[in-house]
Amino acid sequence: MLDALYRAARTLTGDVDAAAELVQTTCVKALDRFETFGQGTHGKAWMMKIMRNAWIDQIRRRRVAGPAIPLDEERLEAAPVVETGETDFVQILERFSDERVIDALMELKEPQRMALFLTDVEGLSQEEVAEVLNVAVGTVKSRVSRARAILRDKLANHAREMGYLERRSCRT
């Protein structure tokens, strides 16, 4: 569980030290909410929700002179979804380092990033992810789908830059 919490914290914060601190804070906050842990509660989802709320609290605390960090869905950029169509893309994925894949994920906006992380990496169901992120299941589906498409395109672009894939016109 600690490993899962740390992975999630890394995905949220993008920083090793901040992630460690967030894990600590999450455990402490879990103490305060221990009574909300009832029979049948999914332990990992419960802790993930506490962690995400703790992270949001932390961001909100940073209300200082300057622009606020946008968290709401409406602020998401409309990233184009490009169908690459390369059949060798699956094999190309194996040529990326783990760090490169994680870095590409970190380039996504937080709502999409966490939806994809919780679904694909931690294996939570869409209903559980919806509970963690406090959104509707339909929103989770669209976020995950969009996030995966953007991630795929980022990796495809990187593969082209590295010469793993031919530069050719993409169908949009």
Partner: protein, 260 residues
């Protein structure tokens, strides 16, 4: 023949639906599905090497080691028994730590206050921390006055210390001031609260030159708090507590009291 929607692909990936026969017939849909599957697999593989290191595990369990094991042992066992059946075995480490810390420490607010203060400090350390910076203490005082409604004492500068900037943070859902100093012991956050130091419930108290310092710790952070002029100044940093007390003493014994 219509292609699979993105939502359908997600439902197949989620296991909610089986791959439709169309996937076998349509090269485009098959490629989209296989790519989505591959991205998921590669992500999972990439994160397999990301683990909490031994230091983090130690710091989480440090709460347990430092707790008074004899204080409420029965409650600990009861709590764990209540929680354990509904969890996977993999959850045990963290939740044992959680339940032990909760019930053994006997005071959730002890850790909660320390955690919040450490969190404010941690945020100040981050490269993208947004601090209000100015070389003019009067301008920083005006910023604090505008944001907080009061002006905390500002430190004397020099002597190996610089003021990086200040910001408004939140503690117990109330705005508090924080200024950040670069010292030869690293970056130190001074958090200025209206809360009395006793309410922080730090573990220790030290009397020194007629003043009472409250001392505590959270994870790698040490803390020392001192009340002056109706405000509590809490120094937080990854250094020893005695040095933080000394810092507060030197900062506040001859501070520039910038009142409006």
């Amino acid at each position: 023949m219509s292609h699979m929607t993105s939502e359908q692909i997600e439902m197949v990936l989620d296991g909610t639906e089986s791959p439709p026969a169309h996937v076998a017939e349509c090269g485009l849909c098959r490629t989209r599905y296989e790519q989505a599957l591959a991205v998921r697999g590669r992500l999972r593989q990439a994160f397999a090497s990301v683990d909490a290191d031994a230091a983090l595990k130690r710091s989480v369990t440090a709460c347990i080691r430092s707790a008074d094991r004899d204080r409420r042992p029965r409650a600990v066992v009861a709590a764990y028994r209540r929680i354990a059946p509904s969890l996977a075995a993999a959850a045990a480490i963290a939740l044992v730590a959680v339940s032990l810390t909760l019930y053994v420490s006997g005071s959730r607010q002890v850790q909660a206050a320390s955690a919040e203060l450490a969190q404010i400090h941690q945020a100040n350390l981050m490269p993208h921390a947004e601090l209000y910076g100015s070389s003019d203490p009067q301008r920083m005082a005006a910023f604090m006055k505008r944001e907080l409604g009061f002006v905390p004492a500002f430190p004397r500068l020099g002597a190996g210390m610089d003021l990086r900037g200040c910001c408004v943070a939140y503690f117990r859902n109330r705005p508090v001031g924080s200024y950040v100093m670069a010292t030869d012991r690293g970056v130190i956050s001074i958090i200025v609260l209206r809360d009395k130091p006793e309410t922080l419930r730090f573990a220790g108290q030290v009397r020194r030159e007629g003043r009472t310092y409250h001392t505590g710790a959270f994870a790698r952070n040490k803390m020392a708090a001192l009340e002056i002029g109706g405000l509590t100044y809490c120094a937080v940093g990854e250094t020893d507590t005695a040095w933080l007390m000394e810092l507060l003493h030197s900062l506040l014994s001859g501070y520039q009291d910038i009142q409006d």
